[in-house]
Symmetry: C2
Subunit: 90 residues, 2 copies
């Protein structure tokens, strides 16, 4: 029987992973990224990628799955932000 804190960790992992889904949907539709900070997206994608490597290295499947999903979502945001920035620069 999982303890209360196991459940807390699972719900926390689910929320902090899925949190980026509504942001990706909004940004995908609007293509407007002005209010999204490039520095945040770069640091977040690098940090999440390192958490993914950490999960692989320590064999923690929940860390691998949560950060793998988050990484894909954040990379979509980073791509949309860079495209928006280059389109404005052109």
């Amino acid at each position: 029987m999982p303890g209360i804190f196991d459940v807390t960790g699972l719900v926390a992992a689910f929320l902090t992973t899925m949190a980026f889904l509504p942001q990706v949907i909004q940004t995908w539709r609007s293509r407007s990224t002005a209010d999204l900070n490039l520095g945040m997206l770069l640091a977040l994608s690098t940090g999440v990628a390192l958490w993914f490597v950490y999960g692989l290295g320590t064999g923690q499947v929940p860390v691998i799955l949560a950060n793998g999903a988050t990484l894909m979502l954040v990379m979509v945001l980073l791509t949309l932000k860079l495209r928006d920035r280059f389109a404005r620069a052109a």
Copy 2:
């Protein structure tokens, strides 16, 4: 001597925590939050708060510190987003 994955985890924790600082600075200055998704901010603050509780419950100081700092930063973004939304509705 900390292992390579201990260092990886520490750098990942630092990056995913500090990532929100440039976003808070930009949003604080611009007061423009239209491109920030309210659903993301609500899910992220709830999830990070649960990670904070998880850290307290399991006695993991790095989890407590990283998520405590992230929670404060995300709460600033959430407050700015809600103020922006109510100001527009008024």
